[in-house]
C-alpha cells in the first residue's frame, strides 16, 4: 500500500509532464525534446516568485503565495513554450523529420546552459508552505506534500480533459491533430491552435516542475531525466492519446517504486526500469497501451 501511494505520487508528476509530450506529438508528430527544460525554467520562475513574496508570511497566507507561485510558473512555462515553438519549430514545419528533432535538442541545450549561467549550477530548495508531517492512515503514511501532488495533478488532468472534450478550442485541437489541412479548410487557425497546445503543455510541465521541486530540488539539469521518463510514459500509454499519457505516467511511477521496493532492483539502476519498460512496450505493442496500430501503407 505504502509503495502504491508513493508510486501514485510519482506517477501523477510523470503524467503531467507526459501530457505536454503527447499533445505536441498528437498535433505536430514530433518529440519536443526541450519539454524538460521548459519545465525547469518554469520551476525557477515559480521558485523566485515564491521566495520573493514569502518573507514574513506564515500559515494560510504562505499557502496562498505558494499557489500564486504555481500560477507564475505556469505562465512563465507557457510563454516560453510558445516562444520556443515560434523561433525553433515553426520554420521547420515542412522540413524533414530530423530537423525539428535536432532543433529541439539544440533548444534544450541552450536553455539548460542558460539556466546554469544565469541562476548558477547550485541546487535550490522550494520550502514547504505547510508542515510536512505525515498522516498515518491504516499503517500507510501520507505526507501533506504527497496529497498536494496527487490533488494538483488530478485537478489539472480533469481540467485538461474537460477543456479538450467540451470546448470549441478543444474541438479545434482535436481536428488539427487529425488533419491539419482539413482543419484549416474548416476555418481553424492552425497556428493559434499549435501555440495553444504548446502553452498548455508547457504550463502543465511547469506545475509538475514545482511539484518535483517540493519533493526534490531545483537545478538546471532537473528537467532532462524527468522529461525523458515522462516521454517514456507518453509512449507507454500510446503517444498522441491524452488518457494514455495519464495511464502511462501512473503506471511508470508505480513500476519504478515497486521495482526498487518490492523487486529489490538497486536504487542506482532505477532509471533503467523506465527505459527497459519503454523498449519492451515498443517491441510488444509499438503503438502503446491505448494506441491503435496504424497499418503501414504499401
Amino acid at each position: 500500500m505504502q509503495h502504491l501511494v508513493n508510486g501514485l505520487t510519482l506517477g501523477g508528476i510523470y503524467a503531467l509532464i507526459a501530457l505536454g509530450y503527447t499533445m505536441v506529438y498528437g498535433i505536430l508528430k514530433f518529440i519536443n525534446f526541450a519539454h524538460g527544460e521548459i519545465l525547469m525554467m518554469g520551476t525557477y520562475a515559480g521558485l523566485f516568485t515564491y521566495n520573493l513574496l514569502r518573507t514574513g508570511l506564515q500559515g494560510p497566507a504562505l499557502v496562498g503565495v505558494f499557489f500564486v507561485s504555481v500560477l507564475v510558473a505556469m505562465v512563465a512555462g507557457g510563454t516560453l513554450g510558445v516562444v520556443v515553438e515560434r523561433i525553433a519549430y515553426r520554420p521547420l514545419r515542412r522540413a524533414p523529420r530530423l530537423a525539428p528533432l535536432l532543433s529541439a535538442i539544440g533548444v534544450s541545450i541552450i536553455l539548460m546552459n542558460l539556466a546554469g549561467f544565469v541562476f548558477g549550477t547550485k541546487s535550490l530548495k522550494y520550502e514547504y508552505p505547510f508542515s510536512n508531517k505525515p498522516f498515518v492512515v491504516g499503517g500507510v503514511s501520507i505526507t501533506p506534500n504527497q496529497l498536494l501532488i496527487l490533488g494538483v495533478s488530478v485537478v489539472m488532468m480533469v481540467l485538461l480533459k474537460l477543456f479538450i472534450d467540451r470546448t470549441r478550442m478543444g474541438r479545434a485541437m482535436r481536428a488539427t491533430s487529425l488533419d491539419q489541412d482539413v482543419a484549416r479548410l474548416m476555418g481553424v487557425s492552425v497556428d493559434t491552435i499549435i501555440s495553444l497546445t504548446f502553452a498548455i503543455g508547457s504550463a502543465l510541465a511547469a506545475v509538475a516542475g514545482v511539484l518535483i521541486a517540493l519533493e526534490f530540488k531545483v537545478y538546471p539539469t532537473m528537467g532532462t531525466m524527468a522529461g525523458l521518463k515522462a516521454f517514456v510514459a507518453a509512449v507507454v500509454g500510446g503517444i498522441g492519446n491524452i488518457s494514455g499519457a495519464m495511464i502511462g505516467g501512473v503506471l511508470l511511477g508505480i513500476l519504478e517504486t515497486f521495482g526498487v521496493a518490492v523487486l529489490g532492483i538497486p536504487v542506482g539502476l532505477k532509471d533503467t526500469i523506465a527505459f527497459t519498460v519503454l523498449i519492451i512496450i515498443l517491441l510488444v505493442k509499438p503503438a502503446g497501451i491505448l494506441g491503435k496500430a496504424i497499418r503501414e501503407k504499401v
Binding site: L101, G106, I109, N113
Partner: protein, 340 residues
C-alpha cells in the same frame, strides 16, 4: 599552444571516427540512432579495463588487442541494439536507441566490481601500439595514430558504401518495401549497418581511453550521441567527407573560447549555448548539411527516411515535391545496378 592544437587534432580525429560510423547508420542506413554514446563507452571501457589489468599483472600493453576486443564487444552491442529495434522507425527508433544508451551507462555506473562505478579509471599507463611506445608528453604519436585510424575507417566505409552492399543499403533507406520486393534482405542490411557502425565507434573508444589515460562514466551521456548525430547532419547526411568536416567544425566550436583565450572570462556554459545556437540555426537555414549527398543524376528522387533532404538540387522541399512512385523506381535502378 602547439600542444593544445595537437589535442584538438586528436579530438577531431576521434570525433571524425564517431561521425563516420554514425553516418553509416543514419546517413546511409536511414536509421535515426542515438546509441553512439553506448558504443563509444564500450570501446573506452574495454580498453581501460584491459590496460588496467595489464598494468596490475605488471605487463606492458599493446593497443592492438584493445582495438580488436573493443570492436568485437561494441559490435556485439550493435547486434543487441539493432535486432530488437529493427521494426521501429524515425522518432521511435531514436528514443529506443537512446533508452539503450542510458541503460548501458547505468550498468557501467553500477557495475562497481568491473567498471569501478562513478570513479572510473584514471592514471592508466601510456600503452604501446604495434610495439611502439606512445609518449604522453609528446602528442604527435597520438595525432598520427588517430588520423591513421580515421583514414582507415574512411577508406573502409567508402569502399563499403560504394559496393553492392552500399547500394542495397541505399535501396533499403529509400523504400523498404521496394527493396524487399527486389530480393534484398532488409534485416540483414539494417543490422549489418548497426554492427559495422558500432564496431567502428569502438575504435574511437579505444583511442579516447589511450589518449586520456582515464575514463569516467559521465563522458558517455546521451548528449554525446546527440553531438555525434549533429556532426553528421551538419556535415551532410550520406557523405563521408561531410562527417569529417562536421566533426572538425563542432570540435572547433566547442573549443573556440579556449582557442581565443577567453576560457577564463567566459563560463563553460557559453560554449554549450553556442553549440545549441549553431544547431538550431543550422536546422532552420540549411537542414541538408554543408555538403549535400552525392546522388546519381535521376529526376525527383525521394528523400531518405533519416530525414535527409533534397534531390540533386538540394533544398529542403525535395521530400514534399516527389511522389513515392518515383522513389520506388530509383531504388530498383540502384539494385539492378548493384547486381550487374
Amino acid at each position: 599552444m602547439i600542444n593544445f592544437v595537437l589535442l584538438l587534432l586528436v579530438y577531431m580525429g576521434i570525433y571524425s571516427i564517431l561521425a563516420l560510423s554514425q553516418n553509416l547508420i543514419t546517413g546511409f542506413g536511414g536509421m535515426l540512432s542515438l546509441a553512439h554514446a553506448a558504443f563509444f563507452a564500450i570501446g573506452s571501457y574495454t580498453t581501460a579495463i584491459m590496460m588496467h589489468s595489464a598494468a596490475q599483472a605488471g605487463a606492458g600493453f599493446d593497443l592492438i588487442w584493445a582495438f580488436m576486443l573493443s570492436a568485437l564487444l561494441s559490435g556485439l552491442l550493435g547486434v543487441l541494439i539493432g535486432l530488437p529495434t529493427l521494426r521501429l522507425r524515425g522518432d521511435y527508433l531514436a528514443i529506443a536507441t537512446l533508452g539503450f544508451g542510458e541503460i548501458t551507462r547505468n550498468v557501467i555506473l553500477n557495475w562497481d566490481s568491473l567498471t569501478r562505478g562513478p570513479m572510473g579509471f584514471s592514471g592508466l599507463a601510456a600503452p604501446k601500439i604495434l610495439g611502439l611506445q606512445l609518449d604522453p608528453t609528446n602528442k604527435w604519436g597520438y595525432v598520427i595514430m588517430t588520423w591513421l585510424v580515421v583514414a582507415l575507417v574512411f577508406l573502409l566505409l567508402r569502399r563499403l558504401t560504394r559496393s553492392r552492399i552500399g547500394r542495397a543499403l541505399d535501396a533499403v533507406r529509400e523504400d523498404e518495401i521496394a527493396a524487399w520486393s527486389m530480393g534484398i534482405n532488409i534485416t540483414q542490411y539494417k543490422v549489418g549497418a548497426f554492427i559495422v557502425g558500432a564496431l567502428v565507434a569502438g575504435f574511437a573508444g579505444t583511442l579516447w581511453t589511450a589518449y586520456n589515460q582515464s575514463v569516467s562514466p559521465n563522458s558517455f551521456d546521451f548528449l554525446l550521441s546527440v553531438n555525434v548525430l549533429c556532426m553528421v547532419v551538419l556535415g551532410g547526411l550520406g557523405n563521408h567527407w561531410g562527417s569529417i568536416l562536421g566533426a572538425v567544425l563542432l570540435v572547433l566550436v566547442a573549443e573556440l573560447p579556449r582557442l581565443l583565450g577567453l576560457s577564463s572570462i567566459l563560463p563553460p556554459q557559453v560554449r554549450q549555448i553556442l553549440f545549441g545556437v549553431v544547431l538550431v540555426s543550422m536546422m532552420i537555414f540549411r537542414p541538408q548539411g554543408i555538403i549535400v549527398r552525392r546522388r546519381p543524376a535521376l529526376p525527383g528522387r525521394r528523400a531518405g527516411g533519416g530525414g535527409s533532404s533534397g534531390g540533386p538540387g538540394g533544398g529542403s522541399g525535395g521530400r514534399a515535391g516527389s511522389s513515392p512512385g518515383q522513389g520506388i523506381g530509383d531504388a530498383a535502378v540502384d539494385v539492378s545496378g548493384g547486381d550487374a
